[in-house]
């Protein structure tokens, strides 16, 4: 059961990532980002880490989507097409990827019990958890107790991002530039069609 479920979820994740790169409409990209976070949360649930899934669902699909939408008030709706070619970036990405894959061939197999990472600290966490900390789930115990300062740092980062965006968009309301174009784009027509309904009134 588990391998094909992982396979399907990962392929949905890959399709979403390809969509984020290809699509030019920035609002669609923001919503694809929300879908990406959702699928990642489902993957975390399948991998038996419920608290990480909680965090991913709440932060990624809820807050980050709304923050990105707020950031989009300051800019236009469509991404402008890039001006330089893609040959050099493609070559650099392929070479870097090949070097990384070559380097990863030496790593021990995923989850093998005699990998070095499982021999030094992990038994200490697994065995010493119950008398010391008494949290039933091992992932939660590592996140919240053994590596608690990491979690504190992440909370600080998300909080700072939220305050930054609120300061940017809350103070002075920057006027939208291409209102008529964006109103047409909302309804799926071409941006320069002659028959426009009047802009919505608030």
């Amino acid at each position: 059961m588990s391998p094909w479920l992982d396979f399907v979820l990962f392929s949905i994740l890959a399709a979403t990532a390809v969509g984020v790169v290809i699509l030019r409409n920035l609002f669609a990209v923001v919503m694809l980002g929300a879908v990406f976070s959702l699928v990642t949360a489902a993957l975390f649930v399948v991998m038996d880490a419920p608290d990480v899934a909680f965090t991913e669902a709440a932060v990624g699909a809820g807050i980050t989507t709304v923050l990105l939408l707020g950031a989009l008030t300051l800019t236009t709706r469509h991404e402008r097409p890039g001006s330089s070619g893609i040959a050099i970036p493609l070559a650099v990405s392929l070479i870097t990827g090949a070097v990384l894959v070559y380097g990863s061939l030496d790593l021990p197999r995923f989850g093998s019990p005699d990998a070095p990472i499982h021999l030094h600290l992990a038994p200490e966490f697994l065995v010493g958890r119950e008398p010391e900390i008494d949290i039933p789930n091992i992932v939660t115990a590592i996140l919240a107790s053994y590596r608690g300062f990491d979690t504190l740092g992440e909370v600080i980062v998300v909080f700072t991002a939220g305050i930054g965006v609120l300061l940017l968009i809350g103070r002075h309301h920057v006027g939208r530039r291409n209102r008529v174009e964006d109103a047409a784009d909302d309804k799926g027509e071409a941006p320069d069609s002659p028959a426009q309904s009047p802009p919505e009134s608030t």
Binding site: G19, T65, V66, T202
Partner: protein
């Protein structure tokens, strides 16, 4: 039995994703995200039953709440073009 439900949910998620890619208008995409969120809520519950640990329903409940509020936030944003309250010095646009 739960396998049938899980397969059906994964098929529905893939179809909603296709609608998210090709939806011509913005509201098509908002609808697709809402449907995808409901399917994820159900998928987490069904996978919990499949692996014999149905305690993951808390995550489903959390995500059902966030999905609803997120959809309404996106729609409100598109209607009023801003996220916060109107500052007192600004007139009606």
């Amino acid at each position: 039995m739960f396998l049938v439900a899980a397969v059906a949910l994964l098929i529905a998620m893939a179809l909603a994703l296709i609608r998210l890619f090709i939806g011509p208008s913005l509201y098509d995409r908002v609808l697709a995200v809402n449907v995808f969120g409901t399917k994820t809520v159900l998928l987490i519950g069904v996978v919990g039953f499949l692996t014999g640990r149905p305690d993951w329903l808390d995550i489903s409940l959390l995500y059902a709440l966030i999905n609803f509020i997120g959809t309404l936030a996106i729609l409100k944003f598109f209607r009023y073009r801003r996220l916060g309250d109107r500052p007192p010095s600004e007139q009606r646009p």
